[in-house]
């Protein structure tokens, strides 16, 4: 067995790709929920809402300070022991929950930084012509903050897609779990894992390309 079994690898591709939708669905769900949560956390941090601000800081510190794998095990194996209503929680749900909380902690900080990064004098200018705080946020601050935050948020999305592979440790048969099963059946571990690596790599490259296009479009307006 000196050369790669290319036929096996080619045959494996369609099998593995059939699990891609689950991988992408978990990442997409995690991303949408994490974004919503992160926006809320960022607003709390920007407005320094008493009480909530301290809780938010603790939340962010915990979810950035511990490994995602530990968090997933905590939700999947640990929490149901203490919170009985969680016994129904499946691997997919636990993964989405873990991804949401973990990544929202990171994303909250980049959204916050993007909001406070918008030049304060523009805020004053908007108020000076009689805009309300809501109009100011919607029309001036958030569009500019979005442009700053989007590249970072895209990076987190890419990280999240790769992180979905941890779901296999919770018994979810997604892209990584399927590869593991195939490899165990054929004993062609190298071929199997190099194939799945190339699949992840391809998705990430595709997204990175989209990211560059998007950034280019967002920045057009500001180029000197």
């Amino acid at each position: 067995m000196s050369v790669l079994d290319l036929d096996y690898m080619l045959g494996l591709v369609p099998i593995l790709l059939s699990y891609l939708p689950l991988t992408l669905a978990m990442a997409a769900a995690g991303m949408v929920l994490a974004l919503a949560l992160a926006c809320g956390l960022a607003v709390i941090r920007v407005l320094k809402i008493p009480g909530l601000n301290a809780a938010t800081l603790l939340f962010i510190s915990f979810f950035r300070g511990t490994p995602l794998l530990v968090q997933l095990f905590l939700f999947y194996y640990g929490l149901p022991q203490v919170l009985s209503f969680l016994t129904q929680i499946g691997g997919i749900t636990a993964t989405i929950m873990g991804l949401t909380l973990h990544f929202s902690a990171y994303m909250a900080e980049s959204i916050r930084a993007a909001i406070v990064g918008v030049d304060r004098s523009q805020t004053e200018a908007a108020l000076s012509i009689g805009m309300t705080n809501g109009q100011l946020m919607r029309r001036i601050v958030l569009p500019q903050a979005t442009r700053v935050a989007v590249p970072t948020l895209m990076n987190y999305f890419i990280d999240m897609i790769k992180a979905t592979s941890l779901a296999f440790t919770l018994g979810v048969t997604e892209l990584m779990g399927a590869t593991q099963k195939e490899a165990a059946g054929s004993f062609l571990y190298f071929e199997a894992f190099i194939t799945v690596a190339v699949i992840y790599w391809g998705i990430v490259e595709l997204l990175a390309w989209c990211q560059r296009r998007l950034e280019h479009r967002l920045n057009e307006a500001y180029r000197r």
């Binding site: 004053e124 200018a125 012509i129 009689g130 109009q135 029309r139 442009r147 307006a221 000197r224």
Partner: protein, 248 residues
């Protein structure tokens, strides 16, 4: 007409505006001068409620407010009656020159987009930037940005335009074009309250010059009188520093 009555503003323990009284007739051009840290910017910012004054009454056209009791609606109404031109231009970076001027008309005055854009185009014409309608602030020179800043204030059709050192951030090469536009507005009898260190502008354009020091108005009068024959020793001192050829 603008009327400021006994306006007070404190930051912590320090009283930055210590009972300012000022009246401005429609069409009058007033220049405020005075040493650094004297409260000139704070006065302008209080008229626009960018700072909340601690006491006093403001009359801005048909609006009269006791600043302590000013409600949210009063503050928005006051802001609509005063337009601000900032030292650092403060243009909206995500909007073109045209959109910067039209923004307030659309959002605050609730004009339809087309009407607001048509008005913004007229203003761009008047400020000599018709060809820059679709340019974003980052691509404009400092002088052009400040002219758009003035255009944005013109669009507001406020009772008064407040200028806080509009040429102080500019490279020397752009100062004249901005002062030129301000002179043009003065000639059209736009009511203006201008804080500036440009003494030549004060002398040539102002109807009245106000000298402030230590949070108070020390002296005011037509530029010819104030510059030639200042009455207060503090005014004389200040003018001696800023005008090399001032009377001793």
């Amino acid at each position: 007409m603008i009327k400021v009555h006994q306006l007070v503003k404190r930051f912590g323990d320090s009283t930055v505006l210590d009972g300012i009284d000022l009246e401005i007739e429609r069409g009058e051009i007033i220049v405020v001068i005075g040493p650094s840290g004297t409260g000139k910017s704070t006065l302008l910012r209080c008229l626009n409620f960018l700072e909340r004054p601690d006491a006093g009454r403001l009359t801005l056209g048909d609006l009269e407010v006791d600043v302590i009791r000013a409600s949210r609606a009063d503050i928005l109404a006051a802001r609509r009656r005063t337009a601000f031109v900032f030292q650092n231009y403060a243009l909206f970076a995500n909007k073109t020159a045209l959109e910067n001027i039209a923004e307030g008309l659309i959002v605050v005055n609730r004009w339809p987009r087309e009407k607001a854009h048509a008005r913004a185009r007229e203003i761009l014409e008047r400020i000599g930037l018709a060809d820059k309608a679709d340019a974003y602030p980052a691509s404009l020179s400092g002088g052009q940005q400040q002219r758009v800043g003035i255009g944005r204030a013109m669009a507001a059709q406020a009772e008064v335009i407040l200028f806080d050192e509009p040429t102080s951030s500019l490279d020397p090469e752009w100062v004249e074009e901005v002062l030129g536009l301000m002179k043009q507005l003065a000639a059209e009898r736009q009511t203006m309250l201008v804080v500036t260190h440009e003494m030549a502008f004060a002398r040539d354009v102002a109807d009245r010059v106000v000298f402030m020091e230590g949070g108070r108005i020390v002296e005011q009068g037509p530029p010819s009188r104030l510059f030639q024959a200042p009455e207060d020793p503090r005014t004389r001192d200040f003018l001696r520093k800023v005008l090399p050829d001032a009377p001793a």
